[in-house]
């Protein structure tokens, strides 16, 4: 099955899509957004400087029809969300988003009801468009690089005026082996400081639940869950997080969850490996103390 990846130049994101592509057949071809060489070896690689995914649709339609791609793979990120739907209409193609499982017979699995249920679909027509939830597939190791050829047709209705990257202090969530994450139970934005202190000692990234982001205590880029970052750390400290299914969907592949919550009935304990039923304001300082004593 001939597959095409559309993704920004990012070894991990492209690598996950290569893994999915190989389930359906050989290593896919790539359209990379951005400039520079693409990590990995590909038969055909294209690049586009389109800043906004929506502006890339015309060029993609032409390429997919000309080359006869049967599967288009995007990750379930902003770019993927921009492209998948409009592209499916233009191609008359089925589209399944946020998939977390795939088999060579074109069956795919995706969550519904906030991750409380899983649906399996059989795709009966190509081309098909899939967006793949991050961190559910191993990232294929990219050997070498490929120099792409520019893809025509990046004009469009939308203009990028400016971009403000949020500079994360310390380790980015995507790469972190340890994550300390806070929810509504933390109580205020100031109180997130103690989570940052703990993260500092553990060499960890700081995350947040949707509740904490809605309160304005944490940046939207820190949100972990179904509609935030999907993470797969070795240890995930859930502090004052009740553990709604939409949050758990973001940590499904975390190896060990440590829950600190004063409500013993909180759903997070059903997902946790270790649990401490106590006010985090007592636990976190003691944890920091214990870590400092070790040093």
């Amino acid at each position: 099955m001939k597959a095409l990846i559309v993704e920004v130049i990012d070894a991990k994101r492209i690598g996950e899509l290569v893994t999915v592509g190989r389930i359906f057949g050989d290593t896919p071809d790539v359209v990379a957004l951005g400039t520079g060489d693409i990590p990995g070896n590909y038969n055909k690689a294209y690049c586009s400087d389109a800043a906004v995914g929506s502006n890339l649709i015309d060029g993609l339609v032409e390429l997919i029809q000309k080359e006869g791609y049967e599967v288009v793979l995007l990750s379930a990120t902003t770019v993927g969300a921009e492209i998948a739907g409009p592209l499916s209409v233009r191609l008359g193609a089925p589209v399944l988003t946020e998939i977390i499982g795939a088999k060579s017979d074109m069956t795919v699995t995706r969550p519904i009801y906030g991750g409380k249920a899983m649906t399996t679909f059989k795709i009966n027509q190509t081309p098909a468009i899939l967006t793949v939830r991050r961190k559910y597939f191993e990232s294929a190791i990219a050997e070498g690089t490929t120099t792409p050829v520019p893809l025509a047709g990046a004009a469009g209705a939308i203009r990028l005026v400016s971009e403000e990257a949020v500079v994360t202090e310390g380790i980015p969530l995507d790469d972190a082996e340890v994550i300390v994450s806070g929810g509504r139970g933390v109580g205020s934005g100031e109180k997130f400081t103690i989570l940052r202190d703990l993260a500092g000692i553990l060499n960890a990234a700081v995350g947040a639940s949707r509740g904490a982001v809605d309160e304005g205590w944490a940046e939207p880029t820190m949100q972990i869950g179904q509609t935030g970052n999907i993470v797969a750390p070795s240890v995930y400290f859930a502090v004052g997080i009740s553990g709604a299914s939409q949050h758990l969907a973001g940590i499904a592949n975390a190896k060990c969850v440590v829950a600190i919550n004063k409500d013993e009935d909180a759903n997070i304990f059903k997902r946790a490996r270790f649990g401490i039923v106590e006010d985090y304001a007592k636990v976190v300082p003691a944890l920091i103390q214990a870590l400092q004593e070790e040093q």
Partner: protein, 251 residues
């Protein structure tokens, strides 16, 4: 300026996994019905645009008659009219075709807002298919919208930060949550007034579903067994936790 917000009524999205049951592959009918959470963010954004620019705000939904009572909340929040296209399909192309029909019937819509994703199907795709069908530009994850000199200036909550984008003319935007669009709680007076508003009901069309077969729907089991740590001496508890994390090579 005429703004429409697409709103979908779903089963209670806060039902915990342990209490969640399916019948025929869909949520059991006993759960309370409510407007999806991102849809409420979109309604709030629409109401703010109405307040800022004197826009007309029409709420459009595709679903069943019995959900009208739930949808009236959108009127109580500040919507001017409610249009319901009758139907019960889950296919995104069918839903989008029905919403397109309702938007074209209105005739003069400038901007279409929708929640980032529904609180039942979790797919975030109906609005973008609709944009494709209408041939309007589509932008996901928008947190703020302004109108300047006939152009829309929007902020997009991108994975890496905020992007400021602009476009002219019509468009479909999906709305993400931000502290600025936390849905308002309507006053009792508004709730009572909303009950009297007429609802425009439109017969749905069959549409063309995707060539995809739904094979199964299952509730996965959560198998983690939590080890609760002793609480007598917190310093000791933390030492135990750290040694266990190291023993099992997590840290």
């Amino acid at each position: 300026m005429h703004i429409t917000v697409l709103a979908k009524v779903v089963p209670d999205y806060e039902v915990p996994t342990a209490d969640f049951e399916l019948t025929d592959g869909r949520a059991h009918s006993r759960y309370t019905r409510m407007i999806g959470l991102y849809d409420e963010n979109a309604i709030e954004t629409g109401v703010q645009l109405k307040e800022a620019y004197g826009a007309t705000l029409t709420i459009i939904s595709y679903g069943k008659t019995q959900d009208v009572t739930v949808l009236r909340k959108a009127i109580a929040m500040g919507g001017d009219a409610l249009h319901l296209v009758l139907g019960d399909a889950d296919d995104p192309f069918v839903i989008a075709a029905n919403l397109k029909m309702a938007i074209e019937q209105l005739g003069n819509v400038d901007l279409v807002l929708a929640g980032q994703q529904s609180a039942d199907m979790d797919r975030g795709v109906v609005h973008s298919i609709l944009a494709g069908m209408l041939d309007y530009p589509f932008l996901p994850q928008i947190s703020t919208i302004k109108s300047e000199d006939g152009r829309w200036m929007v902020a997009q909550a991108h994975e890496n930060g905020i992007r400021r984008l602009e476009f002219s003319g019509k468009g479909v935007l999906s709305i993400t949550s931000s502290p600025k669009n936390v849905p308002r709680i309507p006053a009792v007076r508004s709730i009572l007034a909303a009950k009297k508003k007429p609802v425009e009901k439109i017969d749905g069309i069959p549409g063309t579903p995707m060539p995809v077969a739904e094979l199964s729907v299952e509730i996965p089991k959560m198998e983690s067994v939590c080890e609760f740590l002793p609480l007598d001496d917190m310093a000791q508890t933390c030492k135990i936790l750290l040694s266990k994390l190291r023993e099992e090579r997590y840290l």
